[in-house]
């Protein structure tokens, strides 16, 4: 495909929205970190966005069918990566999530596994012959997603591990489920719940308990929820203005530039700002879905919808956590939260969506 076509055919609305969100994120990171030890974070985030755009371009330019063919290679390579994290990852506050890179950067493999899973699930489902996936297919898919989820759980990073599940759920949902399967899955889920509870770490259990009742542990994870709610509430209708949020500036708010960036935003920009921001995210999501609708084949549709499902899940869990309607899981807000791995992986996913779009006429 000629280069000029690539440029002309880009989804400019999608890209514009993504850039606006990223820019607001950078502004918010600046506001939340100035005068702290993280002062340089906004600048590094600019760098990550730049890298993200470049990588997005790369991902968009290779035909996704080629990627689908190579998906198993990516898959096993990323499993090896996750094992490597467990073996030689750098331990930060009780979890091994990063592989140190030269220059003080850290590589969070689990973020990039999402992309690989989207491709792998799309490949598996588009190869299916029948109208509905059989129980055997569901088991295989479950294993495909379950293995990396288990490895990430081991880090331990419950939030990221859970974020792999919507990819699976979205794929199965689109492939068409028989109601018997739905019932069976619901039953398995209900049975797995108590088992899963035992596998959780104590602090993870505590987080779930305090989600149900934040005042149970006002010093620990309950503290985060309470402070986040106070921050959001203090923002009111119009917000307190950039760098004026007392919750954020006085550091009551935990990690106001990563996981809780949206509560810092809500404090400083108020309900109106929140509406604008959620509107942007909604438009972004709908733009991704639109690209799924125009995809040339089912594989493309699966890829774009995988991205859409993952995006919706992240928004629900992160922003829900900010207003105290979801447990504290520590997953970042797409495109806004500070963090190279997260930002770059989200731009790569937008690259996948572009990839599907550019080949919508089957070229």
């Amino acid at each position: 495909m000629a280069r000029y076509r690539l440029v002309r055919e880009m989804d400019w609305p999608l890209l514009t929205i993504a850039m606006v969100i990223a820019a607001v994120g950078i502004l918010q990171i600046y506001s939340a970190t100035h005068g702290t030890g993280w002062t340089g974070a906004w600048w590094r985030q600019c760098l990550y966005v730049g890298v993200g755009l470049a990588v997005m371009w790369l991902v968009a330019s290779v035909d996704y069918h080629t990627m689908l063919n190579q998906a198993p290679i990516y898959y096993w390579a990323s499993m090896a990566g996750l094992v490597a994290v467990l073996l030689l990852g750098r331990e930060v506050s009780g979890g091994k999530r990063w592989i140190p890179l030269p220059g003080g950067f850290h590589f969070q493999v689990s973020e990039f596994v999402k992309l690989v899973l989207i491709l792998q699930v799309a490949r598996y489902l588009s190869d299916l012959k029948g109208d509905h996936p059989q129980a055997r297919d569901l088991l295989k898919l479950g294993a495909l997603v379950g293995l990396p989820a288990a490895l990430v759980m081991k880090q331990p990073d419950l939030g990221t591990a859970l974020s792999y599940l919507p990819i699976l759920a979205m794929g199965i949902f689109l492939a068409g489920l028989r109601w018997q399967h739905v019932v069976a899955l619901a039953l398995i889920g209900a049975l797995a719940l108590p088992v899963g509870w035992h596998l959780l770490k104590d602090y993870q259990k505590m987080r779930l308990i305090t989600f149900l009742d934040p005042s149970r542990d006002p010093l620990g994870s309950g503290y985060q929820v309470i402070q986040s709610q106070i921050a959001v509430g203090a923002g009111g209708m119009w917000g307190k203005g950039v760098t004026r949020g007392s919750q954020t500036q006085l550091r009551f708010l935990p990690v106001p530039h990563t996981d809780f960036i949206f509560s810092a935003f809500a404090e400083e920009h108020g309900f109106v700002g929140v509406l604008v921001m959620l509107g942007l995210y909604f438009l972004l999501l709908m733009q991704v879905v639109q690209n799924a609708q125009v995809a040339a084949d089912r594989a493309g549709m699966y890829i774009a919808m995988g991205v859409a499902g993952l995006l919706l899940f992240h928004l629900l869990v992160n922003i829900g956590m900010v207003v105290g309607r979801m447990p504290v899981t520590g997953i970042p807000l797409p495109l806004m939260s500070y963090g190279g791995s997260s930002v770059v992986s989200w731009f790569m996913m937008l690259g996948l969506v572009h990839n599907v779009r550019l080949r919508r006429f089957g070229i």
Binding site: G235, D297, I319
Partner: protein, 640 residues
Amino acid sequence: MVELGARKVYKDFPETTERIEARQRALRDDPKIASGRIAFFQYLALAVFLFLISGFWELQVRNPEIYSERAERNSIKALPVLAPRGKILDRDGRVIVDNHSSFSLILSREHLKPENVPIIAAGLDLDQGELERRLHRFRTRPRYEPIIIKEELTPAEIAFVEAHRDANGLPELELVHAYRRLYPQNSLAAHVIGYVGEVSEAELNSPEFIRYEPGDVIGKAGIERQYDVHLRGVDGQRQVLVDNLGRERRVLGFKPAIPGKNLQLTIDLDLQVVAELAMEGRKGAVVALDPRNGEVLAMVSRPAFDPNKFATRIRPGDWKELVSNPDNPLLNRATQAQLAPGSTFKPVVALAGLESGAIDEDFRVRCPGGATFYGRYFKCWVKGGHGVVDLHKGIVQSCDVYFYNVGNRVGIDDIARYAEMTGFGRKTGIDLPHEAEGVVPSSQWKMRMFRQKWYAGETISVAIGQGALTVTPLQLAYAIGGLAMGGVWYRPHLVKDPARREPPRVAKINPDHAVKIVHGMYGVVNEPGGTAIRARIPGISVCGKTGTAQLASNQVLKNTKLGQVLKDNAWFVGFAPCESPEIVVAALWEGGEHGYLAAPIVRDVIKAYFDKKARLRRALVAQATPRFGPSPEAMPAAGP
């Protein structure tokens, strides 16, 4: 399926079959088949967004004033529940270091108004600049973490805080219950116990203090430092809901403090007090060890300091006075003073002579009051001389000329070997920080330090405990104690811990040689002409050795004005009973001039030990002897 049926029909026409299969694939591959489900997802997304928006609506539009007010005064306040440090007990369980309750003043920075800082400083008698520096030091810590700005509040200061609990008062102040270290009066055992203080910024930056945070009170010296991890507790936290006047409304959470563990020392307070009194007004140190297990029974260093001055924050003036005092009261002379041992070293030289075979038991020397070695005249301390001197008389009367000859025959390297064997020239390994090593000179040592070869003339001075030789009082007690045990050295320690009993260091010494030396040391105290008749205790066989050590050689002193100032150091090391020692005591009196003047210090401690032992035995006997037959309680209950 229609298509499947059609495939059978057109089986014989491959061209058509292919076309149909392509159509089937296209159908299956048509993304439109999922369009209904995609629409469902869109509605789902809409529902999720509405759910999220309703969350913000609830918090930001419906009742924002609740939250904005809460944010204004952030009503949750975390107050530390300070853990008391463990007590320090003596060997009989008597309390040496205790805690007492007090109030500390906490400043919560989230409520701090900068204009209030001068008011607070004035009202509480604090230096404003100091307070501001303190606030600056904590700038990197989260705002909700309170900092302690004053301890040991007086009733007047408590009243000041309470009086300012109104709307335009000082809501940033908060009183918390704290424990202050209560050290014995009169600096009793001050150097052993050490003191606590706030962890300094320099300490925080070093890896060994990684687990401490600014504001933590930690052990800074002595036992307090050595066993800090054992003594310190874990602070708890109390979370309270406060109103806008800073008054507590409700306790939200409580994490109790874990008190530090108590620590039992091997120190015997009875002996410690006697040793302290004996050193009253003198400069020096006393160490009493049990040579059978290495337990330190008493340890005194003078001049001392008052650890209570450190128990809260030490005032800069007091600190300056302590560190600028030329007598250096912070130095634990028992483990850190490194001085020439003088004649107390002679038993070691005698051992080196006998063990190396340089002399035998019949080795005799005539002492005319001095002798010439390598072209230099060395005096004996008795001007007229001792006449004919053998080993026993040499030790009893501390004849210098005898030991010059022994040293000359043994040679410096064998002296060094046996000095090191008895424990000089290296740390004893006592559980106190910063123990000094002392110096045992040898030809190798001189080459290493000065790149010069050893001159045989220098050996003569070392043979009587002078020259480059330096020891600590602890080393002296340790060395002589082990020698008196026949070559068994237990590591000195201050904490009773039967679980960590370690085997002693044993040297192969000819028992006859050890007995010969011990016999000489018995003579020092108990024979006519002995140098330490003052150490004699009726009924107890005390052995010992005096030492009068010059600080610099007489030749040097003659040419300086210092000669008048530097009086000789008096040493005495003694143990008892002779044949199976239970206690060994070393005393150093700096500027005491004559070794025999230090002997009464040791005698007092040894006497206190045996007096106490006799008292305990009498009490035990009285308890065990049934005076009027078995008491009725002790009678077995009669059966039915």
